[in-house]
């Protein structure tokens, strides 16, 4: 009667193309968007938004390569693919790598989410208590597998569209002159910003796990492109709004430029609109780390084989809680950890696919491997 919701080969767990697109997009758009306008402005002034296009180019290229890799073994995730081509132990190693990578991904963002709540809304609450609040929904979604995740991303994207609309209110405060002159200091500052923008597109590596679930595999290539483009459009929109509203000097003063800019919106019956926005934005952030949590737990389950998905989901949440309880990173530690993690992210999401693709395309030229 019960279906294994974590089995990528099962038809019961397939997702539609839209869910595929939105899940990738969801993993990309998260906490980074809050601080990105400020980060970009600090490095390259108001030209930072141009660098987003480069980030988009790189991430699209890398995700297309990932799709090409996954085509070699369409019925399994990256773990089964590695095990198929390079043997069981390489598969285990991949499971370990992604288990660690995705778990850190999930933890750092969940922790950052708790820190955001703590610093903006509930200064006196402990981080681990705030984390605890999101464990029940996360557990429900994670045990539902990719299908539940796809649906969750779908519904949250739908429910968060109004926030983009609300941001449009800010345009009347904006001053288009802030963007001029374009490329005032040449291309160099823009190129230096690319590193930041590339990292903000991290999350497309979920294709490694999502691809076998996609019901119509022909759509994978344009699906990842659509996901990256949608993320780019939202980043552009948010960054430009911040750049238009704030003067070039003012913007670099804020940590979460996006939240401070929302503060400007005010109604006769409501002050501090940013708090409402942040609370609703938590939904958007949750769809970043919940998939990562699933991928992490999935990889570890593949590594250890035994046990039910439910147990892994609980175990992961319990470990996350325990780490925060013991370590309790403050804002700076979280920032440093993110910086360190982004290097790992570059390796896993950009370098590894390119290498793997190279190796695979050579291997596949030989008959022996063409199965």
């Amino acid at each position: 009667m019960s279906i294994d919701r974590w089995n990528p080969a099962s038809k019961q767990n397939s997702i539609t193309t839209l869910q595929f697109i939105l899940t990738i997009h969801s993993m990309q758009l998260g906490v980074a968007a809050l601080s990105m306008p400020g980060d970009l402005a600090r490095i390259s002034g108001t030209d930072g938004w141009i660098a987003l296009f480069f980030g988009w180019m790189f991430s699209s290229a890398a995700s297309l390569i990932i799709v090409q890799i996954m085509k070699a073994y369409p019925s399994g995730t990256i773990i089964e693919l590695m095990a198929h081509f390079f043997g069981k132990w390489t598969g285990k190693l991949t499971a370990l790598l992604f288990g660690v990578y995705m778990s850190i991904f999930a933890y750092l963002i969940l922790d950052r989410m708790a820190l955001l709540i703590q610093s903006w809304i509930m200064q006196q609450s402990k981080t681990y208590i705030l984390m605890l609040l999101f464990f029940v929904p996360a557990y429900t979604i994670v045990i539902g597998g990719v299908r539940a995740i796809g649906r969750y991303c779908e519904i949250v994207v739908l429910l968060s569209l109004w926030m983009l609309g609300a941001m449009l209110f800010l345009l009347k405060e904006g001053n288009w002159l802030h963007l001029l002159p374009v490329l005032k200091e040449g291309w160099m500052p823009v190129i230096r910003t690319i590193n930041t923008t590339i990292i903000s597109f991290l999350g497309f590596e979920s294709v490694f796990f999502l691809y076998p679930h996609l019901d119509n595999k022909k759509n994978a290539s344009w699906g990842v492109l659509a996901a990256n483009t949608y993320t780019l459009l939202i980043y552009l929109f948010l960054t430009l709004i911040c750049f238009l509203v704030y003067s070039p000097d003012q913007i670099s003063e804020y940590n979460e430029a996006l939240l401070t800019v929302v503060k400007i919106i005010e109604f006769r019956f409501m002050e501090r609109f940013d708090i409402i926005m942040l609370a609703c934005y938590l939904l958007v952030i949750s769809k970043t780390w919940v998939p990562a949590l699933y991928f992490g737990a999935f990889s570890v389950k593949r590594l250890l084989i035994v046990g039910k998905p439910k147990r892994y989901a609980w175990l992961f949440l319990a470990v996350m809680f325990a780490i925060t309880y013991v370590w309790d990173p403050d804002w700076n530690e979280s920032q440093n950890a993110m910086k360190w993690f982004s290097r790992l992210g570059l390796a896993v999401a950009y370098v590894m696919p390119v290498l793997l693709w190279g190796v695979l395309s050579i291997l596949l030229r030989f008959k022996r491997w063409q199965t």
Binding site: P137, I141, A148, V156, F269, E271, R272, A279
Partner: protein, 518 residues
Amino acid sequence: MTMIRRFLKLMGAGGQASSRKAKGGAVDRHAPLSTSLERNLADLKRIFTEAPDLVIRTFPYKQTGRRAALAYLNGLSDKNSINNNILHELMQVDEEEGTPGILPVSIGKVETCTSWTQLEYAVLNGQSLLLIDGADRVFALATQGWPQRAIADSQIEASLKGAHQAFVETSESNIALIRRLLGTSELKIKEMIVGNRVPCKVSIMYMEDLTEPEFISTMSQRIAKLDTDCILNTGELAEMLEDQPFSLLPQLITTERPDTAASQILQGRICVVVDRSSSVLIAPVNFVAFFHGIDDYSTRWPIASFMRLLRFFACFVAIFLPGIYIACISFNYEVIPLDLILSIGQFRAAVPFPPFIEALIMEITLEMLREAGVRLPAPVAQTVGIVGGIVIGQAAVQAGIVSNLMVVVVASTAVASFIIPNYDMAAAIRLMRFPIMIMASLFGIIGIISCFMVLLARLISLRSLGESYGVPIAPLRIRDWKDVFLRLPLWTMVKRPSSVRSLQKRRMGSSEHGGEEG
């Protein structure tokens, strides 16, 4: 020791097999019937001991000259047809008039029974048994005629412009009501029996050329698996058939309205009619279907669309408004502008309770009033409403127990929860707001968001008869949205909702396209 032994013995005897044996004395229900009338009558009397309503009438069967007996339960059978159409014919029609070998009764449905189980079931369902000396079978004649309520308007699903007929407590009448609306031979009925002690007829109705066969097989498998004493009500059946019984949200619709049932069957869903119950089950359903009423299709589409939007808004208000109020007053007061918070503070200054307790007092008072109104006869219920209204509205504020604003919040919440057309969903929503109020009082707006996430997560992972509950929102089926939050003109809905996976997609313009497409 003896106590324990006796207890164990009782536990052992609790099984249904033994309870069955105990009831019927020495009669083996699966044994073939005897050819002797006397023995059969004796067996029948042994099965129905202490049953003064069992009438047995022995008489000579004129056609063959043998002795015969007619047995029926007094209150469950129609005496007119027994007297005029059975007894009269059997006692008067002789060999010349009748055809030999054919029963000379003027009754539509005649079944032959060969075992005592069948006989027992037939008698208990109001059929009359005709036992003839020398025959190894017994005829069960359809003479059902138990006390029955007239077909009236539905009480809990009132409609302004829809039909004013609601289901009654007999499945034959209920099936007839649906058949009247769906007069096509494609409407199929699959009968099943549920209940070991008291068998109850359950009929699954569906359109053969529309309904996904998987639904029918899943539903009949689930019904066949039921191992229970007796089902008295559709609600009991629904509870046992639900995919996730621990969820707050109802996963099957029970309706009292034949037109609702018919419109759901036409979309490709199945409908389960339970004998002795005045409502039917609809499956599979999704979350939004609980917010649709039959009136939506009989009013003009802009009005119907507005009503739908109003209902979804009301659902949001009914779930979240008290929580948001508590969060804003006790936690996130920075959201409220200064002038407003000062005036709220003025009201609240006299109230000794924290906002959560204040809200709880009001909500519970309101729930009690509502429950009291349901239990009492209509004229008294009105009095309760007036007294309650004054107590809540005026006296409580003047006495300083609750603040003015709280009354506004609770009253709007109550009104909002009345708008939701489905009783089960409205009740679920009423209950849902209590955990949200608790979370709001503990964690403010973050608590509400956390509850909202739980709701979303439940919504996407729930299933109804194996189908996703969140459809067409998540998984998104944008083409079905013509009939979700809005009700667009009927001529735009050329196709059936794809979320029901009906076998024929098109419901309009099929003649232009050369018949229905697959």
